[in-house]
Symmetry: C2
Subunit: 433 residues, 2 copies
């Protein structure tokens, strides 16, 4: 018997090796005393224990609805939930479903919005296809793109989000290099971007739809609008989604989740796309899992129908607004006297994006990260994870990977944890000034 | 603005078009009066409403465990659930985890076992790689393989399951054609195969491990053992799994689900694999969804810990044994006087595999299927869906696609539905004799 036969994995297996998220989680496990300003968990104490119980009891008080929740659902997700989602999106947009060009058939329920992002990538992207992203952007999605063998081209951002002039000039350069036909989508976290906390300005929301449409010369260039943080708005203007500027709904694919606004443990997210895209996603999802957990879909549908959900979101905005303020105050207290340190004041979401002087690197291997985690016992997400620069593209416009940022979250820690974490982090940073 | 730009999907999108499962479900929707002996749903009345409620109440009676269930879990799944799964498998095997060479680190929790099958395919199979399967076998897995662009080579079966002589001769032919290095796995539903109801004999379980090992000349050839129906045993011998014949656990990857034995609405399945394979699956799953629904994992863990689960399985065996008997009696009543019709008596699972005379085809386009669905208002799964024959392989040994079988299930219908369904089906069949 040959004993030395090796496992030969698929080629794409290598593309999802060494994900930064795994490294981060491992650091948390290996350093239990570390205070995490990195973990993307939500606030523990405001998790909707009572409202979930009320929803569950409501559902299980009737054997018929209880059995329906315990039986197989459908691949696209519960029809009653999808009807509620249609109203939900319609309310958020302050437009009728008809005006938005949406029906329940445009909606697919997934295991968090993460699965929607992944499925859309699977059906659209071949290895070598290009996705345009903001620099910085949601680093877990960069991992998804890498796992599919896609190429990631970064676009400059400023305080109003992705720059439209940079987007157009990049598309122009890609066209001149004969690569425009590889561009399949533009990914945008339009509200309170993870990690920067910045929202795309209203002007640019309309412009980006026009740009995507006018550059869809051979094949469709979609906008993938990730609205994970949409409902966590604390102050500042609430602007209409990019999707609302796309009257036919043929250009913008929207995705949202209930992980941030209700409970990540239910794993319910969804997306809205043209029907042809929905059919492709459903076929892939049919092979992958036949449909996401039916019981949590039914629990969430009950929470939406009985208004428990909306009650909770209102409460949650208060909780997170206070935590956001607390982190910003702690930043003032501990960082305002460190020269060259600045940070973004986010109007929503869960993150504070902090910039250090250019010469202080924040990456996993940096002296700062190592000191922070091992000596000062505090952890953050290195900003460089949120930049991807396509090495194959040789032109000026692509922004360089910036190595002097930190993504800090006020999501998981309580007030004391935020205070103590910021204090420890300032101590670590100061030692490198 | 160019208005005619087309959506260009990924190449692999085309591989999961026109799945038979979608067609079947569509038939159900379009023909609401049809009695389905096709749908893979489980028995509606025995769904564990009270036990799920007890588990949920138990979990939510303590704010700490309730919050943990509502928070993010980990990609591999809840550690407490995985510990319970280790004991669960160990009890079923009547061997200690140590004897089986299993730890919690070998276990990954997925959205049903379907997601495990799909993830394993993703990390092992490149387009053109080969998976060996029984003829007939679980048709939804054939869809997964096609979706990955894999090639499917069928192996003959008899009343003891996959024939080992055919397996060896096929491997020999593949080697002589220079294609052995493409073979990545052998897929086996060892207990009460879907669709045939046949179990792999104990002798062959040991043999197939030896065969896989001895033919792993260049790369590892895994056995993927799908034990979805393992706990639904009604009579006949309960034989040890193929995995139990693999003392190092390096060759056999096992997967099970709680969809059949408890509730498909919870969508909890799992798999046991070597650690290197687990790492690959976790990386892919991290990109796909970060982990399956945490709340249903915690509900199921409670049901296992409090023995509610085992209580339920005991009850379920009685329910399904009776329904199995009912369908076999109805087959006797309505089909025994039709010449050339025969069927398998299954000792477990959910299916009765019925064979018609050679000249009566059962496919979607066949006169029988059309008459059954439109006139007699009864639906079955055409047996030919459960056969895949690789067109690129040109040799005698590959069994032909058989077109005269039907997969009938006693899972979803009650006694009256089974009786009436079998009566209608016999009427349809008789008209073609």
């Amino acid at each position: 018997m040959p004993m030395n036969s090796k496992i030969r994995f698929s080629k794409k297996r290598a593309w999802s090796h060494d994900l930064p998220i795994s490294f981060l989680m491992q650091q948390g496990v290996e350093n239990p005393g570390v205070l995490s300003l990195a973990a993307g968990l939500v606030d523990q104490n405001s998790l909707p224990v009572e409202l979930t119980k009320k929803s569950f009891d409501h559902l299980f008080s009737n054997p018929k609805t209880a059995r329906a929740a315990l039986q197989y659902g459908t691949t696209a997700g519960s029809l009653s939930l999808r009807s509620l989602l249609l109203s939900h999106v319609s309310n958020l947009e302050e437009k009728s479903a008809r005006e938005l060009g949406m029906t329940v058939d445009n909606i697919i329920v997934t295991t968090g919005s993460q699965q929607y992002l992944s499925l859309l990538g699977e059906v659209l992207l071949d290895p070598g296809d290009i996705c345009l992203v903001a620099a910085p952007t949601y680093f877990v999605f960069l991992g998804v793109l890498q796992g599919l063998g896609a190429r990631i081209v970064s676009i400059e951002t400023d305080e109003f989000g992705m720059r439209m002039d940079s987007l157009e000039s990049t598309l122009g350069i890609l066209e001149s290099q004969g690569q425009l036909e590889k561009v399949k989508m533009i990914y945008l976290v339009s509200d309170y971007e993870n990690p920067s906390g910045i929202s795309l300005s209203q002007d640019r929301r309309g412009q980006v739809v026009e740009i995507a449409q006018s550059w869809s010369k051979q094949q469709k260039i979609f906008i993938l609008e990730d609205l994970a943080y949409r409902e966590l708005c604390y102050d500042g203007p609430v602007v209409p989604s990019i999707r609302s500027f796309d009257s036919t709904g043929e250009t913008v694919i929207l995705t949202q989740t209930f992980s941030k606004s209700f409970s990540p443990g239910l794993r319910v997210g969804f997306g809205v796309a043209p029907k042809e895209v929905c059919a492709a996603i459903c076929d892939k999802k049919g092979n992958d899992d036949f449909g996401s957990t039916n019981m949590s879909q039914q629990v969430l549908a009950t929470a939406l129908r009985e208004n428990f959900y909306y009650e909770h979101v209102k409460h949650l905005r208060e909780v997170y607004r206070e935590k956001r303020n607390y982190m910003l105050e702690a930043a003032d207290t501990y960082f305002s006297n460190i020269p060259g340190v600045r940070w973004v004041h986010p109007n929503g979401g869960l993150y504070v994006w902090m910039t250090l002087p250019n010469n202080i690197e924040t990456g996993f291997a940096s002296p700062l990260f190592q000191k922070a985690i091992h000596e000062d016992k505090v952890m953050y997400v290195p900003g460089e994870l949120c930049y991807a620069t396509d090495q194959k593209l040789d032109f000026d416009k692509q922004p360089p990977i910036q190595k002097n940022h930190m993504r800090l979250t006020f999501g998981v820690q309580n007030h004391e944890g935020i205070q103590e974490g910021m204090k420890r982090l300032a101590k670590a940073v100061k030692s490198f000034i």
